[in-house]
Symmetry: C2
């Protein structure tokens, strides 16, 4: 756990969250107030406040008198989270198909083309464009509350999405699913858009499951 530079700008809560989703703090790591306070160059009070917020967001768990630790996410728990993500994206798609205005339409098409190019550039480029694609759909739902909820969960699932994008042919398949989504949105078919997004997201949970199973096999063999 290297020292992290102290400064102003993003809130302490955001900075610790970033350290968690980026993997700097691993699941199960204990987060001691004094240690964090030293690392970020502040006192315990703001650290405590940040930890309470992260607890509310579900990223860490605080047990009375026993301190905070990064939430351990089991594969089962992860599948549950991807189901909710799929549900939220599904609603976003349902609403977006009905409410798509010219601006959002252009934005989604533009990002979709960027995705097409990124497919050839490999994992990192596609990862970035894929993120923009999903954010654009949230926005197109014309429901800021939904957008906020979706973004929060999306962010929390970030590390796991990155892993599954590396699996075989996943990028090509992902892009094909995007095409189905775009088609549904443009034609205003809300039912199809919802289903396409649900499938697109929950398949990631399946892929992650496969990934873990593969890990276990190679560890044992």
């Amino acid at each position: 756990m290297a020292k992290i530079a102290a400064n102003s700008g993003p809130s302490l809560r955001d900075r610790i969250e970033e350290a968690i989703v980026s993997g700097h703090f691993q699941p199960g790591d204990r987060l001691e107030e004094v240690t964090l306070a030293e690392q970020y160059g502040v006192s315990r009070t703001p650290v405590r406040e940040a930890l309470r917020q992260l607890q509310e967001a579900g990223l860490i768990e605080i047990r009375p008198r026993r301190g905070a630790a990064v939430s351990v996410v089991t594969p089962t728990h992860l599948i549950h989270m991807f189901e909710v993500m799929g549900g939220l994206e599904g609603i976003a798609g349902r609403l977006a198909a009905r409410r798509l205005d010219e601006k959002s339409k252009q934005e989604i098409l533009e990002i979709h083309e960027a995705c097409r190019i990124a497919v050839k550039d490999g994992s990192d480029a596609y990862y970035y464009e894929n993120e923009r694609f999903h954010m654009a759909i949230y926005r197109a739902s014309a429901n800021p509350f939904l957008e906020e909820q979706a973004r929060a969960l999306h962010r929390r699932l970030k590390p796991y999405r990155r892993i599954q994008l590396r699996s075989l042919n996943r990028i090509e398949h992902s892009f094909a699913e995007h095409e189905r989504i775009v088609k549904a949105l443009l034609s205003g078919d809300s039912q199809e858009a919802e289903q396409a997004l649900w499938d697109h997201v929950t398949i990631q949970a399946d892929r992650f499951h496969d990934f873990l199973a593969g890990l276990e096999r190679s560890a044992k063999g």
Copy 2:
């Protein structure tokens, strides 16, 4: 703002949340740390921690150096929240229809019968049984993460649900919608269960909209 008895048990965060959703603190009310600390018989530190958590949950807004205030929920914002609620309940229904085990099935049927009886007893009894009905569906989804998210939002929408239950014939209509939901769940029709729950929940947003329009008309007339 009457003094609230201090004791141990539910966390301060939960107690303040209860005071907000029950209407003890109204939207727009400023929440001063020292005042709350006195009311609950603690110091500012735990109050601050609770406020940070409630901010994360969206119930209050904290602006730097300007303190905390109960979030003001506009009708538009409320509709957005009901849409997300409808989406979450829809997913719960979709999953529940597929995964319904004997225990959940019996529980839902039992509560549904209690609802049938409560229809005649009026608003308060039905309000209570209705809540149990929805919780049972969350549980039947066999997705604890979804259950948690749904419960949190359900709780936040509590006050507005109560209002709309008072509108004309709403209870009878609500119960008819429940029957459609139960039927879909029992027949394992996940698509229909999802749609039924979406309709059931989002119609509440419409009713609330009508309610507000009526208020404005009578205020002007």
